[in-house]
């Protein structure tokens, strides 16, 4: 009885929250972030600042995943968690939902997307689920995000995608795992999975290059990416026998994809599952979050040397702060700031479960 009563109250509180949208206060004094969260039974995308103050809650039709700011900082795209099919485009000044996208027939989103550097195009990682082919949807942002077409991602299960720092190509993390909406999130090809990092020409869709780990590491699914000054960092998830403790960070220098050397105690603490990855403002430090291991770990972007870590329950969302070496994080119901040597809780959010990703909002 206690439980249902509590749920009802939460539902009421959530409903009230949504009925009276909070004004978006232009507050340039503090940094702001946006992430998806579950509050009671509601799924929200939330804009908050470094004091933990909530500026905006956008109600979502289902569990969200990544949030992608436009290059001009005026709006964000909130992507559904796979295998859902919605994406919302929200104006950050008014808090209004401008467009509500649905994946085209036979496709679902994988939870991530990115803009072209001029903001004219928006790309989404998608599953063409009858064939299992990974595809990238291309949308015209000046025409209501109208779908222009799809091109091949160069692998199965494309997940995070981003524009390479030169703005010329898309980097795509092809996780390698085939799923079908009929069987939910069940993995259909663990025995044959072949993850890859592909670079694709963002105007033509032509494959530029495909990069893989060694054959014995083919059960390391390449899922999340971050871009730094000298390359990319990839966060991995391991699908092999659970007795193995494996590295979960790979560095890409434009030619080689290399696993970061990982002390065995660190590999064990990470529990074979990384959820998100980010570079700091200087580009020298990479932070990797491991929600199963309740761990955020720090690495040198130069050679992948392990630097240290902190524990934080259910930590996953991560974004750089302006100060070199500083990161913002979400973990369970809290937000925090962390460096290699310090951590500080910055916000406590009632009944909240923060989701996988966090982005800085200018």
């Amino acid at each position: 009885m206690e439980i249902s009563r509590r749920h009802t109250l939460q539902g009421a509180a959530t409903a009230a929250l949504i009925a009276t949208p909070l004004p978006v206060i232009a507050n340039t004094a503090t940094a702001r972030w946006m992430g998806c969260r579950q509050v009671g039974e509601a799924y929200l995308a939330t804009l908050f600042d470094s004091t933990g103050y909530v500026h905006l809650d956008v109600q979502l039709p289902g569990r969200g995943h990544d949030i992608v700011p436009s290059p001009d900082g005026q709006r964000v795209v909130i992507m559904a968690r796979r295998p859902d099919r919605f994406a919302l485009i929200v104006d950050l000044r008014s808090g209004d939902v401008r467009h509500h996208l649905t994946a085209s027939d036979g496709h679902h989103f994988y939870g991530h997307g990115c803009f072209s550097s001029d903001g004219a195009l928006f790309y989404t990682s998608e599953n063409h689920y009858e064939t299992g082919d990974g595809v990238i949807g291309v949308r015209d942002t000046n025409k209501g995000f109208e779908l222009l077409g799809h091109f091949a991602s160069g692998g199965i299960g494309p997940h995070e995608i981003l524009l390479t720092p030169d703005g010329k190509s898309l980097a795509i993390a092809n996780g390698g795992i085939r799923t079908h909406p009929d069987t939910g999130r069940s993995k259909l090809n663990i025995d044959t999975m072949a993850p890859s990092l592909t670079l694709v020409d963002h105007t033509t869709g032509n494959l530029i290059s495909r990069h893989t780990l060694d054959a014995e590491q083919r059960q390391l699914s390449i899922r999340h990416l971050a871009a730094g000054p000298n390359g990319l960092a990839a966060a991995l998830q391991y699908e092999g026998p659970k007795r193995n403790r494996v590295p979960l960070l790979a560095l890409f220098d434009g030619i080689y994809l290399t696993l970061a050397e990982t002390p065995s105690a660190v590999a064990k603490a990470m529990r074979n599952y990384a959820g998100s990855v980010a570079y700091d403002a200087s580009g020298e430090v990479i932070a990797l979050t491991c929600p199963r291991g309740n761990l955020v770990s720090f690495w040198s972007s130069d050679d992948g040397t392990y630097l240290g870590s902190h524990t934080a329950r259910d930590v996953c969302g991560i974004a750089p702060l302006k100060n070199p070496g500083h990161f913002a994080l979400t973990a369970g119901a809290i937000s925090l700031h962390a460096t290699l040597h310090t951590t500080k809780t910055t916000g406590q959010f009632a009944d909240t479960q923060w989701d996988n990703h966090l982005v800085s909002i200018a």
Partner: protein, 370 residues
């Protein structure tokens, strides 16, 4: 403590210190539980409950088959009493292990080959009636039922054949009796196979007991302990939703007595009692969840769970009608409502308090593949 184990824990302590450079953000309540304590829990539950439970099921179904074999030749009253008694002890054995929701039981065709229930669309029963009406001899040869629909070789089928119309098995050498015998043998074979899959060299028992070192199926001992915790919570879920809520319906007029489990042999409440006794044993067995909680100073949780589960068992024992009658009886139906409320409380203690005390709460972001 063997030298190698002591050495291992020393190494772990050392590496943990090296690993965490900063402060511990959220003091982990599970910090006090050692690998050895969790392994002791896994060993206790596996060796005192799971393996003996499946072994008992194999023995009971074997005896049931032997008794049926004799009864089919000479179907007398004494034999009938024996058959019914052994059907019940076999079903008792199954209900005790029904709460185990991982490991070999999920291989081949899963738990449904022991009990296909609830049969929401009645497909199993249609197939079964066809076999009986046509006296289809293809179900009789040894091993034949392993190849047919699970609904033809499970304990529900056996209950139907024995209890739907007792007369059909009461003729010497009747088809129905020989079919019942074939089902009992099928159950014996399946249960024996499960025991072997747990106990053989490199089998599932070893996977559980060596979980701390990492195995093919467990990352570590905590993941394995989490499975047992899920079993307790899951068992309460099944009792609430399938065994009580579904036959009760929303209101008295929505009650459906034939949705109670094993109404033909009038043992619905006994099944529930056995399921919850297994939950109780997970708590009370030496080195079980209760002892583990006490050892980390969480006596309150242990006491709350012990009291709730005993209360629920007392309530169940107090009913003096079959469940199929209670759901339709305006005078006693209310007692089921209060039983449901207590089960909900018990479930939230398991899922929330116990999981938190032992550091086994699954994270929101720990789900596969995002």
């Amino acid at each position: 403590m063997p030298f190698s184990k002591a050495f291992r824990s020393t190494l772990k302590g050392g590496s943990a210190a090296l690993l965490v450079t900063g402060s511990l953000l959220s003091p982990a309540s599970a910090g006090a539980i050692s690998t050895d304590q969790t392994t002791a829990l896994l060993t206790a539950l596996t060796d005192q409950l799971i393996v003996p439970g499946y072994t008992h099921l194999a023995e009971e179904s074997s005896q049931l088959a032997d008794v049926l074999d004799a009864y089919c030749t000479t179907p007398d009253t004494e034999g009938r009493t024996q058959v019914e008694a052994h059907f019940h002890t076999t079903m008792d054995a199954w209900q005790r292990v029904q709460i185990i929701q991982f490991g070999p039981i999920y291989e081949n065709r899963g738990p449904a080959r022991f009990q296909f229930w609830p049969d929401k669309r009645g497909t199993g029963q249609r197939q079964l009636r066809q076999i009986l009406n046509n006296q289809d001899e293809t179900v009789l040869p040894s091993g034949a039922l392993a190849e047919k629909s699970v609904a033809l070789g499970d304990l529900q089928a056996l209950e139907y054949v024995l209890f739907n119309d007792p007369d059909v098995t009461a003729q010497p050498d009747s088809f129905a009796c020989r079919y019942a015998l074939a089902i009992a043998r099928n159950q014996e074979i399946q249960a024996t196979e499960i025991v072997q899959m747990w106990t053989r060299n490199g089998g599932y028992r070893e996977q559980v007991l060596s979980a701390a070192e990492g195995t093919d199926v467990f990352f570590d001992e905590k993941e394995a302990a989490g499975r047992f915790l899920n079993d307790m919570a899951g068992a309460i879920d099944v009792v609430r939703l399938q065994k009580l809520d579904r036959p009760m319906g929303l209101t008295l007029t929505g009650a459906r007595p034939k949705r109670t489990e094993n109404w033909r042999s009038q043992r619905s409440l006994r099944n529930i009692q056995l399921n919850l006794e297994s939950v109780q044993q997970f708590l009370t067995v030496e080195d079980g969840f209760g002892d583990l909680l006490t050892s980390i100073g969480k006596d309150e949780t242990a006491t709350a769970m012990r009291e709730l589960v005993s209360e629920v068992l007392v309530d169940i024992a107090a009913f003096d009608q079959p469940l199929s009658e209670i759901v339709e009886d305006p005078d006693t139906r209310g007692d089921l409502e209060s039983l449901l409320a207590k089960l909900r409380s018990l479930q939230s203690v398991v899922r929330e308090q116990l999981a938190q005390d032992l550091g086994l709460v699954p994270g929101f972001n720990a789900t596969d593949g995002d």
